[in-house]
Symmetry: C2
Subunit: 456 residues, 2 copies
């Protein structure tokens, strides 16, 4: 990095605002076999206030220096990896959090972590933030910039559904407030909803107003193993159509379950079967929870479920969720890539069945799991001989099938850098053109996350 | 209109695709004292298919002829009024509707009315579309283009929360599909969410995929009169903070109730008091409904409620809702304007109290009612002597206060033409600039709804 610009930045944020351990800020959780190499000649800046972000962006814009915004570094698409020398803007010190119980909102600086938010809300009886969009080390700014999803989307939706307002800094340094502590607002085009999911390429999110809702009821966690994948998958839309809205319906190949057991050291209630569903149901009281569980049991057994195990205690349920949540962690070393396609829920059986067949043909090992209740299928690609040759064939097939089924190549992980070319080739050309023109309006010098999602 | 272009259009849509009764297509429900005069030299075109819309827009774009898209004509901001000679594109004949029970979605052509959608869904046990964004004659395309809200937003959200996909036609004639029958999608910038609420100024919506959800429980409708406005209004956030999420919490000045009674010929359960709340609660069964009603009663009585009346039968509840829904209808002849500001829920008392005081000072008659549960206050301006002089003073005061409280000048009616200048003066200048540049990208010749919301 030019020494000159580092000196300028130091004047803005002080010595403590510049990180020395640059190597800790170069990568995110993107599987290492598909992630790009990070540029190492970067200055890592940790602003404390929006005004500092403003000054840094103004400077970078004038000097045309790339700026990569970094939240908790939990992304899986390489969105936080600097591709060229420049500035990494880490939001970790902007972590002020205010819960406004009068308006039922949380006002979070971008660097507030999901864990911090959940802990703070836990202290206030009656209020909750029910979606659980991923890793609790993720920061709110990043979750909004990526429009994160997660398992509870079936009932409680995704980040977009909770964002009421935001403060952003444009590449020009201008600070802009959009929305606020209001539930309805149709005053002009909704720039806020355009920025949600734009992955740090249009503006830097510095503050977010999140909607909170009354605390939901209690939960049971059901584990339902099946001998055959088809039977497990076809049960999912049947549950939804029966009028039950579970918090989450997760599908898992049995190998995925085993990986989760290995990394957590915890035990899943059933060893056998080919495919398992994990269903989290919610109810006001035990009667309602039992009734819903029984309804699901009947339905599952009609579809040849081997059995239905019900996790009741907080600990039992936490353990089951951990096994599910840490599958990626458990297989990280042998992972080539992790896909997160989105298809219509009724098309999940066709998608998974065809992908499994093709994977076998091409000789690649793929574990399937994911948020079956909202059409979001995760495909975990494991290392095999010649994966460099086989995997592109599989991905090409899978993404082609996704498009044919009316789906999209990324449901919640984002495009980042690893899916950019796939996005260009699967979206309508005109849509990509419009996105590029929008990028040009917000960021004419292409300083924000250059090389990611949309380039000018 | 140029005869030449009418002939071209007739070649596209046939004779039956051109309306003869032009005068029925010039205005919407905007109060006549504030609405602009419509241009009468327009051709009203009623396409049947997206391909026809495409050809018409292509032609209009080449000849630089203004196109105003028209849905059910139920708008309140003049969005459907043609301001200059050109084409009025009425979507009424594009009214095909398919309910996809496998994917739990409704695929609606733009001209499907809300009534048609609700009737069709009613035939399918277990499924519902719970938001009720306004007049049932409104068309889905218009509801999405305006991101309509309505009373049930407290629990069930607004149109934006239900749109999964759309087909739009750009001014160039290109047909673009965005989203689809998928719940999660983060593949690139969300153009769909940018188009929701853009009021027909960026593209013509021809098809919408709407999310359906399992049928909610039963409802009771509570009427709670108060002697003092302050007591009624302060009860609202207290209900929400108590953990109860009603379907709707409506606030009404008693004069508004009387207007609703007059137009419907139906009786409200209580005559007196200064201000009434109408609260619709939802529950799985009678026990739950009774419990919630009692909780609200206790809370209301602590705030000096005169009494609590509970509407239980379907008819009773329908009658109460009719009285509330037809207030505008009941006062149309004496209406100057109808405001629909959005403020943080905790600021409603301050907003209403100050506005009432200012209205008295300036000598203007304003009825207050609206969706108190989501911060959306309606202010019904009634005709008085010299309203032309007094009303601008009041509006100026009210919009200034809205801005000070962190709110917005329109929560659900849209900017259209009647609030355009107010939008320009209350939003940050940079936000308006970005909107204008976005308009330029989508509609470089400014043919779509020129003069409305955002002009290039």
């Amino acid at each position: 990095m030019l020494r000159e610009i580092v000196e300028e930045i130091e004047k803005i944020v002080g010595k403590e605002g510049i990180a020395k351990n640059v190597e800790d800020y170069l990568y995110d959780e993107t599987p290492k076999r598909v992630r790009p190499k990070a540029a190492e000649d970067v200055v890592v800046v940790k602003p404390k206030r929006s005004e500092e972000v403003s000054k840094i962006l103004k400077l970078a814009n004038e000097k045309k220096v790339p700026v990569v915004v970094r939240g908790g570094g939990t992304g899986l698409s390489g969105g936080a990896i600097p591709l060229s020398p420049g500035i990494v803007l880490s939001m970790e010190r902007m972590n002020k959090l205010e819960i406004d119980t009068e308006n039922l909102v949380a006002v979070c600086e971008a660097g507030v972590t999901l864990r911090q938010l959940l802990e703070e809300i836990d202290k206030i009886p009656g209020l909750s933030f029910p979606p659980h969009p991923g890793h609790e080390g993720a920061q709110i700014g990043g979750l909004v910039a990526n429009n994160a999803g997660g398992a509870r989307a079936v009932k409680y939706g995704i980040m977009r559904n909770y964002v009421l307002g935001m403060e952003v800094v444009l590449p020009s340094g201008e600070i802009l407030n959009l929305g606020g502590k209001v539930i309805k607002n149709v005053t002009g085009y909704d720039l806020m909803h355009l920025l949600i999911g734009s992955e740090g390429t249009l503006a830097v999110i510095t503050k977010v107003v999140l909607k909170l809702i009354p605390e939901p009821g209690g939960t049971y966690t059901l584990v339902v193993p099946f001998e055959r994948t088809e039977d497990a998958i076809k049960t999912v839309p049947q549950i939804l159509r029966s009028g039950i809205v579970p918090l989450a319906i997760e599908y898992m190949d049995v190998e995925a379950v085993k990986a989760g057991e290995a990394v957590t050291g915890k035990r899943w209630p059933y060893e056998g079967g080919e495919a398992h569903l994990m269903i989290i149901v919610e109810g006001r009281d035990e009667d309602e929870l039992l009734k819903v569980s029984e309804d699901i049991e009947k339905l599952a057994k009609k579809n040849n479920a081997i059995d239905v195990f019900v996790g009741v205690s907080r600990k039992e349920q936490r353990d089951l969720l951990d096994i599910r949540s840490l599958i990626y962690e458990g297989m990280r070393d042998v992972t080539v890539d992790l896909l997160d396609v989105s298809v219509p829920i009724a098309s999940i059986p066709e998608y998974v069945t065809k992908c499994k067949k093709f994977a076998e043909e091409v000789g690649i090992k793929v574990l399937h799991y994911g948020h079956a209740g909202d059409g979001n299928v995760h495909q975990h690609i494991l290392e095999v001989d010649d994966w460099e040759e086989k995997y592109p064939k599989f991905k090409n097939y899978a993404f082609g099938l996704v498009k044919k089924l009316g789906g999209y190549i990324t449901a919640e992980h984002g495009v980042g850098v690893v899916k950019k070319e796939d996005m260009y080739s699967t979206l309508p050309q005109k849509a990509v053109e419009l996105m590029k023109e929008i990028k040009r309006i917000f960021d004419p010098n292409n300083i924000l996350n250059p090389g990611k999602v949309v380039d000018v």
